[in-house]
């Protein structure tokens, strides 16, 4: 690596739809790189050595980032080959790159650590990952790679049940299928994908992309039983009779509500209900699609995570005036930077240091306004490093006909109530191998973490698959012995 390279300080930007245009539709906002632009950006990478590369350390699943980026440059004269090579590097650690390329908080992970940041802009790793996945999908290169993989799989003759088809469950299923296990996913909803389908909106993650990632799993032999609710349709005990191991990837689906008067007024949605209606049920196409949603003229979204941004930006696309109300300050906003920027560009306003205390109705059961207490921050910090906040005793009232509550979620109660399953503060407790208190039952993703991220859920899926493989190998060997 003695070659002297010229450092290009500025990022090659990805084209985006202008804000005025995009608030009128659910079409994807970011348009992604072309091959030429991707190569230009890839050339900026310093190719830090594998053992040192700080971007890899920042990635929760340790993708060989310089490794995949270098392929784009190395085979620049043969785009198909470049992408195929890059994709197989990514696939070694991450089976859903089209998704993670779009939704990972790169600024807090790989890109946070990138050494280019010391001299200029950090490498746009997320968009490069997304480019590789998109190009491969459009050209059928991912199919090609898959076809080369499938015949090499050696069947193990053991069965694994996966609960939930979100990123954790899908990843565990994929890894286990590649290892030769017979895998069946039990999914409560009518579509697989978890939050990727029902939560994250089309303009950020097109559903056709999630569907194609799931199709690949089916090609690996994974069976998906939708409409099957574990805890009702079948219990974990029953699954253990039929399967050799079980993985719980049921997420954190139960919405947290605000304990304030008026919470059940019409016009108050949980973000989950609102986003499910909009994304999974396509309420933005009502009445062509049968499911309605009501978005008033003035919408207040409570919370400031990714869920809040998605709800706010979705509401904006129905023509509403939207305010994000958060009880802390701007430095504690937990959403991805790109989403916050997009939200601002789209005309969404932010109110900080306000905490809802009452929802005021019109006397007919409909919401009219929200009463907030003004908050202030102290110097003291809480266990998560956020500044503590206290009420000031001053109040403000904001008029609103729709409120969307996005203040977090708990794991699904139907699973958590399984006898013998150890749970603390609503989360399933696991050991370092992600095994729960029930032998042979593993868990990962939001079900054990509370609300986390797609890539962490996938990381758990991979780790659990490895642990399940070891567990089942022992089981197999002791049977044969």
């Amino acid at each position: 690596m003695a070659v002297k390279r010229k450092i290009i300080k500025e990022r090659v930007p990805t084209p985006e739809r202008p804000a005025e245009e995009r608030i009128k539709s659910f079409v994807e906002v970011n348009l992604g790189y072309t091959f030429e632009l991707a190569v230009k950006e890839a050339e900026r990478c310093l190719q830090c050595p594998y053992n040192y590369a700080p971007c890899i350390k920042g990635c929760p699943v340790h993708i060989d980032i310089p490794g995949f980026i270098s392929k784009l440059v190395q085979y620049r004269d043969d785009p198909d080959k470049a992408v195929k090579e890059a994709l197989s590097v990514i696939w070694a650690c991450n089976s859903l790159p089209a998704t993670t390329g779009r939704v990972c908080p790169q600024e807090d992970q790989c890109e946070m650590n990138c050494v280019m940041g010391k001299v200029g802009d950090k490498i746009n790793i997320g968009k490069l990952e997304r480019f590789v996945a998109d190009y491969a999908r459009e050209k059928g290169i991912d199919e090609e790679l898959l076809f080369e993989m499938v015949p090499k799989i050696e069947k193990k003759g053991q069965k694994v049940a996966i609960i939930g088809a979100g990123p954790a469950g899908l990843t565990a299923a994929g890894e286990l299928a590649k290892l030769g296990y017979d895998v069946t996913i039990y999914e409560a909803l009518h579509e697989a994908g978890g939050v990727l389908m029902y939560g994250i909106p089309e303009f950020r993650l097109p559903k056709s992309i999630v569907e194609s990632e799931i199709d690949k799993l089916k090609k690996l032999g994974v069976k998906i039983l939708t409409d099957h609710i574990v805890g009702r349709t079948v219990t974990i005990e029953e699954l253990l009779e039929e399967y050799d191991a079980v993985f719980i990837g049921s997420g954190a689906g139960t919405p947290r509500l605000i304990n304030a008067p008026g919470i059940n007024l019409n016009g108050i949605y949980t973000a989950n209900e609102f986003l499910t209606r909009v994304n999974l049920m396509k309420a933005y196409l009502f009445p062509e699609y049968d499911t309605p949603v009501k978005v008033g003229k003035r919408v207040v979204v409570i919370g400031a995570g990714n869920t809040a941004m998605d709800a706010a930006r979705s509401a904006r696309r129905f023509g509403a005036e939207v305010i994000i109300a958060y009880r802390r300050g701007p430095e504690d906003v937990s959403a991805r930077v790109e989403e916050v920027e997009h939200a601002k560009e789209e005309g969404i306003k932010f109110e900080f240091f306000v905490n809802p205390v009452e929802f005021i109705g019109d006397g007919k059961g409909n919401l009219k306004a929200v009463k907030f207490e003004k908050m202030k921050a102290l110097d003291e910090r809480d266990s998560r490093g956020k500044r503590k906040i206290v009420g000031t005793g001053e109040y403000v009232t904001i008029e609103a006909d729709t409120v969307i509550i996005a203040i977090g979620k708990h794991p699904n109660r139907l699973i958590v109530n399984t006898p013998g399953l150890k749970v603390e503060r609503g989360r399933i407790v696991v050991d370092e191998n992600l095994m729960t208190s029930i032998p042979g039952v593993f868990a990962g993703g939001d079900a054990i973490r509370g609300e986390a991220t797609v890539i962490l859920a996938m990381g758990d899926g991979r780790l659990a698959a490895k642990a399940i493989h070891e567990y089942l190998t022992k089981k197999r060997e002791s049977k044969n012995a």
């Binding site: 409409d227 349709t233 309605p292 009501k294 139907l414």
Partner: protein
């Protein structure tokens, strides 16, 4: 995909579907429901298995044609065809205890949800009387109920064509409350149970309350997922927020905040009407085009 083994109109606006859904048939208990999504661009709606066979793997749904989704089901689903999604069973099974003498009431198609519960209560040794109040042409499950419980009472109201539908419905509510009052005055009861429109449930509860008889009701808030993940179905019960799909659907009628539930159920009425009008317009267009 779930195959429709049988489909027939068993009374005006009441359609019977026998469907192959082994995952539900194997598990379902009286009091539970399923969520059905019949069409690709369709809505998810809750419906109740009325009968089932775990060995043969079928369930029966009886559906009242109400708005667009149920109208589409009646018009577009075919015997031998398929329903896209049936998730379940959902909700908690009805409490199976020896309560004693029970009055189990169903208004309109609500009686089909009463049927499996009343039948199981009777088999358990309770003395069950079922009361069905509906319009004359909408009587369902008469013979089945007469066979299943101690006494089946049927009260019908004629449809007065000179009056609007809401006016007609008022007559059903009137007959319903009068009949309940009469039964409570004449006899001693240990429990009243009711399924039917929320407004009628409240009206009946007002009567039952005067007599102080315990009352349970299966609630029908609007639902989306039915698994506790959306919060659409929330109701205030005893001052606490409950999710009807995982905490219910059965609740103590004395604790339910009825007015809130009624207001919440009507939230989409204008949009539902719009969807229905649009659907009827398309149907008319198709009919004209076909001539």
């Amino acid at each position: 995909m779930y195959k429709i083994l049988e489909k027939k109109e068993i009374a005006m606006r009441n359609t019977w579907y026998k469907i192959h859904a082994p995952h539900v048939a194997k598990k379902v208990k009286p009091g539970q429901f399923v969520i059905v999504r019949a069409f690709k661009n369709g809505e998810r709606i809750p419906l109740t298995p009325v009968m089932w066979d775990p060995e043969e793997g079928w369930i029966v749904l009886i559906v009242f044609t109400r708005g667009k989704t149920t109208a589409r089901m009646a018009a577009e689903l075919k015997e031998g065809g398929e329903i896209l999604n049936i998730a379940g069973p959902l909700g908690n099974p009805a409490e199976m205890e020896k309560f004693g003498k029970i009055l189990a009431i169903g208004a309109y198609t609500g009686i089909v949800e009463v049927y499996p519960i009343a039948k199981a209560w009777q088999e358990l040794g309770n003395k069950v009387t079922t009361l069905h109040v509906t319009f004359e042409p909408m009587v369902v499950l008469k013979d089945e109920l007469e066979r299943a419980v101690g006494r089946h009472l049927l009260e019908t109201v004629p449809i007065d064509m000179t009056k609007s539908f809401p006016e007609n419905m008022k007559n059903v509510t009137k007959r319903l409350t009068e009949k309940v009052r009469e039964l409570l005055e004449k006899e001693e009861w240990d429990l009243v149970f009711m399924v039917g429109p929320t407004g009628d449930q409240k009206a009946v509860f007002e009567v039952v309350k005067e007599f102080g008889v315990p009352m349970k009701a299966d609630l029908h808030p609007i639902m989306v997922d039915g698994t506790g993940m959306c919060g659409a179905c929330r109701v205030t019960v005893g001052g606490e927020v409950k999710f009807a799909c995982i905490d219910g659907p059965e609740f103590d009628a004395y604790k339910v905040h009825w007015d809130e539930l009624i207001a919440r159920s009507g939230y989409y009425t204008d949009m539902e009407q719009r969807a229905m009008q649009e659907y009827m317009r398309l149907m008319q267009q198709a009919a004209q085009g076909g001539e």
